[in-house]
C-alpha cells in the first residue's frame, strides 16, 4: 500500500498535510500520535471511507479491510448473521465457507448464534475484525482496535491479530502496544508525518519507549 502526499482539510484546519508512506506485504505498521494528530482521518482515507482533499492511495477500498474503532455491527443480529450479511454485501463467492472460516479464526464458533449485543467487548471486536477480513483484503486497517478492552481482552486480541498473518496498519493511543506488536511505527502530530521506522529507531538506546516517544514529540515542538 502506498499513500502519496495525502492531505485533508476541514475548513481552515489541516487535518493531514501531505502524508506519504509505503507499507510492505506482511508488515504490521502502527500509527501513533497525540490526540487530534490525524490518525483516524488517515486510516479513514486509506480505507476509502473519507475522500482526501489531495493526494492518492494506491489501493481501492475493496482491496482494503476496514475495522472502525467502534464495532460496526448489528447488535440485534447474531455473530453468524452479521458475518453472512457483510460477506454477501462484499459479494464473497462461497459465503458459508468464508463465514465458517471466520468463526474458526475468531474462535467464536460456539457463539455463532448469539446476538452480538450480548457479547463481551473483546468478542465484539473480534467479530468487527473478522468482518474486515471477509473480502480477504491485501491490507487490514484497524482504528484503535483495543481502545475499549480490558488488559486481558487486549492481550487475546493482539494474539489474534498476530496469528492472521495479514498486512496490518493500526492506530493506537497505547505506544506500548505499538512497540510490542508493530514492525514499524508512523508518528503523526498535527496532521504531519514526523517519523517512520522501526520502534527501536525511535527509542535510540532509551529503555522506555513511551518516554522516548514523548521526548521525540517535545523535540519537534509538539
Amino acid at each position: 500500500m502506498r499513500a502519496d502526499a495525502v492531505s485533508k482539510r476541514y475548513g481552515t484546519r489541516d487535518a493531514l498535510r501531505a502524508v506519504s508512506f509505503e507499507v510492505a506485504a506482511g508488515e504490521r505498521v502502527a500509527v501513533i500520535g497525540p490526540n487530534g494528530a490525524g490518525k483516524t482521518t488517515l486510516l479513514q482515507i486509506l480505507a476509502g471511507a473519507l475522500p482526501p482533499t489531495s493526494g492518492s492511495v494506491s489501493l481501492r477500498p475493496e482491496e482494503v479491510g476496514w475495522v472502525p474503532q467502534q464495532p460496526a455491527l448489528y447488535s440485534k443480529l447474531s455473530v453468524a448473521e452479521n458475518l453472512r450479511l457483510f460477506a454477501r454485501l462484499e459479494k464473497v463467492r462461497d459465503v458459508d465457507a468464508v463465514v465458517d472460516r471466520m468463526l474458526d479464526q475468531t474462535a467464536l464458533g460456539d457463539r455463532a448464534g448469539d446476538e452480538v449485543g450480548k457479547l463481551s467487548g473483546g468478542n465484539r471486536q473480534r467479530v468487527n475484525i473478522a468482518i474486515g477480513l471477509l473480502g480477504e483484503p491485501a491490507v487490514l486497517l484497524l482504528d484503535e482496535p483495543s481502545a475499549s478492552l480490558d488488559p486481558r481482552q487486549r492481550e487475546r486480541l493482539w494474539e489474534f491479530i498476530a496469528a492472521l498473518g495479514t498486512t496490518v496498519v493500526f492506530s493506537t493511543h497505547d505506544v506500548g502496544e505499538a512497540e510490542r506488536f508493530a514492525d514499524r511505527v508512523l508518528v503523526l502530530a498535527d496532521g504531519e508525518l514526523l517519523f517512520t521506522g522501526a520502534p527501536e529507531e525511535l527509542v535510540r538506546g532509551d529503555s522506555d519507549f513511551e518516554a522516548a516517544f514523548v521526548r521525540f514529540l517535545h523535540a519537534r515542538g509538539h
Binding site: A72, Y74, K76, L77, E81, L85
Partner: protein, 449 residues
C-alpha cells in the same frame, strides 16, 4: 439492497416491542374509531323527568284535545330516553355520566301550553335542560344535540297547531263540523255553501227587486272570501318551515363524516408508522456504526436511502391496509375501490418515508429522530385539518402552503378520494414530488452522517 432489506426485517422481527406497537397501535385505533363511528351520537342517552301530574298532560287546540305525551314520544324517536321520576334523579344520571343530558318537563308545562295556545297570556312552557360541561367541545356538542331535538319537538307541535288552523279555514270555506268545548260539535255552513244558498235565493227574486243587488253583494263577498282563504292555507303551511334549504357543494366532495374520519384515522396511522420506522431505521445505521462500513463501496448512499424508504413504506402500507379492512367492518366502505386504497396508501407511505429518512439523516440518533418525528408530525396534522373559512383568509393561505410542504394533507386528500371517490391523481403527484424533495434533503444530510 435485498440483503439490507432482509437484515432490517430480521432486526424488526427481533424487536417485539416495536413490532407489537406497529401492529397493535393501528388495530387499536381502527377498533376505537370503528366503535366510535358505528355507535355514534345518533340517539344520545338523555334522562327524562315528566313532572306533569297524571291526567293533566292534555291541552286543546281549536277544540281538539292533544296529549303532551304524544310529543314526548316524538322527542324519544331521536333520543334514547332514561325515564326517571324526579328532577334530582335526572340530574344524578347526568352527574354519573349515564346520560349525556337531562330534560325535565315541569309540572306547569301543559298548563302554560294551554294558556299560550289559548292566547291567555303568560310565558310559554319551559323545558329544563341539565348537562355536564367537562370541556368546551362536549358542552357545544350537548347544547347542539339538545337544542336540535327540542327544535324538532317544537316543529312537530307547531305543525299540529297549523294543521288545526288550516282545518278551521277549510271548514269556514267548505263547511263542516267544529268541536267546541262545553258546546260540543257545531255545524258550520261554510262560505261556498252560503254563496250557493244566496245565489239560489237571488234567482227566485224578480229582476227589479231591490234585495237582489244587496244579495249579489253578499254572494260576491262569500266568493272572494272563500277563494282568498283557500290561498291562505299554503301560506299558513309555509309558516311552519318558511325557509327551505338547498345545499350545493362548491369545492371538495360530499364525503360522509364517518368515511372522512376513517381517512383521517388511517392517514394519522400511516404517518406515525412510516415516519418513525424510516427515521429510526436510518438513524440506527449510524448508531450501530455500520454506516461508514456500508458506504465504503458496499452500498451507495442513495441505495441505502431507497432501501429504508421502500421497507418502511411496505410495512406501513401493510399495517394501514389491515387497519382499513378492520374499519370497513364498522363503516360501509366500497370494496371495489381497493386498488385506489393501495395507490393512495403507497403514495402517502412514500412521502412519509422520504420525510422520515430526512429526519433520520438530520437527527443521526434513533431517540432524537423519533422525538423529532413526533414533534414535527403533530402540528402538521392539526394544520392540515384547519377548515377554510374558519380563520383569516391570509393565515389560511399560509397554513395551506405549510401543510402542502408536508405529506399529511396530500395523503389525506388521496385517501379520502380513494375511499369516497374524487380526484386521486393530483394528490399522488403532489406526494411523489414531496418524496423527491425529502429524498434530496436526506441525501444531503448523509454527507455529514
Amino acid at each position: 439492497m435485498r440483503w439490507l432489506l432482509l437484515k432490517d426485517l430480521q432486526i424488526l422481527r427481533r424487536s417485539p416491542l416495536l413490532v407489537a406497537l406497529l401492529v397493535i397501535y393501528p388495530i387499536v385505533i381502527a377498533v376505537l374509531f370503528g366503535f366510535a363511528l358505528s355507535g355514534g351520537p345518533d340517539k344520545p342517552r338523555v334522562a327524562f323527568a315528566n313532572l306533569v301530574p297524571p291526567g293533566e298532560s292534555e291541552f286543546d287546540v281549536g277544540g281538539r284535545t292533544l296529549d303532551a305525551a304524544d310529543y314526548a314520544d316524538r322527542l324519544f324517536e331521536s333520543i334514547d330516553p332514561i325515564r326517571v321520576d324526579s328532577r334530582e334523579e335526572a340530574i344524578e344520571k347526568v352527574r354519573s355520566g349515564e346520560a349525556l343530558g337531562a330534560l325535565v318537563l315541569p309540572a306547569d308545562a301543559t298548563e302554560r301550553l294551554r294558556s299560550t295556545l289559548g292566547l291567555g297570556g303568560g310565558g310559554p312552557p319551559t323545558v329544563e335542560v341539565y348537562y355536564n360541561a367537562e370541556d368546551p367541545v362536549k358542552r357545544r356538542f350537548v347544547e347542539a344535540t339538545i337544542e336540535a331535538r327540542l327544535a324538532e319537538a317544537n316543529t312537530a307541535l307547531s305543525e299540529v297547531v297549523l294543521r288545526e288552523a288550516a282545518g278551521y279555514i277549510d271548514v269556514i270555506v267548505r263547511g263542516g263540523e267544529i268541536p267546541l268545548p262545553l258546546v260540543g260539535a257545531v255545524q258550520i255552513l261554510g262560505l261556498q255553501r252560503s254563496q250557493e244558498i244566496i245565489d239560489s235565493i237571488t234567482e227566485t227574486l224578480p229582476r227589479d227587486s231591490p234585495d237582489r243587488a244587496a244579495l249579489e253583494q253578499v254572494s260576491r263577498f262569500a266568493e272572494l272570501a272563500g277563494e282568498n282563504l283557500d290561498i291562505s292555507q299554503p301560506i299558513l303551511a309555509s309558516i311552519g318551515s318558511p325557509v327551505r334549504v338547498k345545499q350545493t357543494v362548491v369545492n371538495g366532495s360530499r364525503t360522509p363524516l364517518d368515511a372522512f374520519a376513517v381517512a383521517v384515522a388511517v392517514t394519522v396511522s400511516l404517518m406515525f408508522v412510516t415516519l418513525l420506522l424510516a427515521a429510526g431505521l436510518l438513524a440506527l445505521e449510524r448508531e450501530e456504526q455500520a454506516f461508514g462500513r456500508l458506504v465504503r463501496g458496499l452500498v451507495s448512499r442513495s441505495a441505502l436511502l431507497t432501501e429504508k424508504v421502500v421497507l418502511s413504506a411496505l410495512c406501513a402500507v401493510a399495517v394501514t391496509l389491515l387497519m382499513l379492512v378492520g374499519l370497513a367492518a364498522f363503516v360501509g366502505l366500497d370494496w371495489s375501490r381497493v386498488p385506489a386504497w393501495l395507490a393512495a396508501l403507497a403514495g402517502g407511505a412514500l412521502g412519509f418515508a422520504a420525510m422520515g429518512v430526512a429526519i433520520g439523516g438530520l437527527a443521526r440518533e434513533v431517540r432524537v429522530a423519533s422525538l423529532l418525528a413526533l414533534l414535527l408530525s403533530l402540528p402538521i396534522v392539526f394544520l392540515a385539518l384547519v377548515p377554510s373559512g374558519s380563520i383569516d383568509p391570509l393565515l389560511y393561505d399560509v397554513i395551506n402552503v405549510v401543510s402542502g410542504a408536508f405529506p399529511f394533507k396530500p395523503s389525506l386528500r388521496a385517501l379520502d378520494a380513494a375511499i369516497n371517490g374524487g380526484e386521486l391523481l393530483l394528490p399522488i403527484v403532489h406526494l411523489l414530488a414531496l418524496t423527491a424533495a425529502f429524498g434530496a434533503i436526506a441525501r444531503a444530510a448523509l454527507r455529514r452522517f
